[in-house]
């Protein structure tokens, strides 16, 4: 059992996946360095990218879920009363994505009318993320990855417990 995950070898795969997500291109396209000589009718031969392992798929999915949760928290922090209480949670999500060798790209800002609504949205979003992390930790083939994801779920648990019960101005 390796002591530490991961997954240096998945960096290239994830980098490509992130770029695809950001540009909306289909997988397999040469999106980073498109050559003017190419024509749409003659697709470039794509290098035979190795198939993703189940754990790599799991990590990509987890990064997506972390990104979604991050979007909710960052948006909620636009309310002054939530700025400070949610700062550690933002930091945690950033670190979690960083350790998974992903990037926080393409997050969306939900409609949050007021601080109370925003806090409720954060709570719902974090509970959903927690469930996803627990499920991912249970599915991981690598014990080291399972440990990492379980630790992240425990972190989310702690932040959920520590969230203020209501907004104080």
């Amino acid at each position: 059992m390796p002591d530490r995950p991961l997954l240096r070898r998945r960096t290239a795969v994830l980098g490509l996946a992130a770029t695809v997500l950001a540009t909306g291109c289909d997988h397999g396209d040469d999106i980073g360095t498109s050559s003017p000589s190419k024509t749409p009718s003659t697709p470039a031969p794509s290098p035979s990218a190795p198939a993703q392992t189940p754990d790599e798929v799991l990590v990509d999915t987890t990064i997506d879920q972390l990104t979604t949760a991050y979007g909710v928290v960052v948006t909620a922090r636009r309310f002054k009363s939530l700025r400070q209480p949610l700062a550690p949670l933002v930091k945690a999500h950033r670190r979690h994505v960083e350790v998974l060798e992903g990037e926080l790209e393409g997050w969306t800002a939900p409609e949050l009318a007021d601080p109370d609504t925003a806090l409720q949205a954060v709570r719902r979003s974090e509970k959903k993320l927690h469930a996803a992390l627990v499920e991912a930790a249970g599915k991981a083939e690598s014990g080291a990855l399972a440990k990492l994801l379980a630790s992240m779920s425990a972190s989310v648990t702690q932040f959920l417990v520590a969230l203020p019960p209501e907004v104080t101005s």
């Binding site: 059992m1 627990v134 779920s153 702690q158 417990v161």
Partner: protein, 145 residues
């Protein structure tokens, strides 16, 4: 390589120690003057006793002999003050979180899911002992990456 049985035995050893430490802290905590601490210690003590007993059953179910509690434990320092008791309880829970996280990594299936649940429970309890949310509970090796 740590086998599942090894990890279960290590977790059981941690639970034996936790039950001892919490019993000691509880015996030095005033139920009236330190109600919050007393309640938290009581809850943690009950939870660790239950986990210990469950582990004993699981290890026996694998055909192995559950490790007994040690003959003696070194009491944590600082138990003469309220702050010291909080600190000792928090340190104990953080140690258990590391043990559960290791158990997650060494197990699979239902056993792993149970370990994940225990890790989450102990992480939540840390906050009742003045802990603050961590980014990687039980997995300090990632904290400084």
């Amino acid at each position: 390589m740590t086998t599942e049985l090894d990890a279960l035995q290590e977790t059981l050893a941690a639970e034996h120690a936790a039950v001892y430490v919490l019993g000691l802290i509880g015996s030095r905590t005033s139920q009236s003057a330190e109600a919050d601490l007393y309640t938290a210690v009581r809850a943690a003590y009950d939870a660790h006793q239950e986990s210990r007993d469950t582990l004993i059953g699981e290890i026996a179910g694998l055909g192995a002999t559950p490790s007994p509690a040690a003959a003696a434990y070194t009491p944590p320092a600082g138990l003469e003050t309220t702050d010291g008791r909080y600190h000792a309880a928090l340190a104990m829970e953080q140690g258990c979180a590391s043990t559960y996280a290791a158990l997650v990594g060494a197990t699979s299936g239902a056993q792993r899911l149970e370990a994940i649940g225990l890790l989450n429970e102990v992480a939540a309890r840390e906050l009742s002992f003045r802990g603050i949310p961590e980014i990687f509970p039980g997995a300090d090796e990632y904290a400084d990456r």
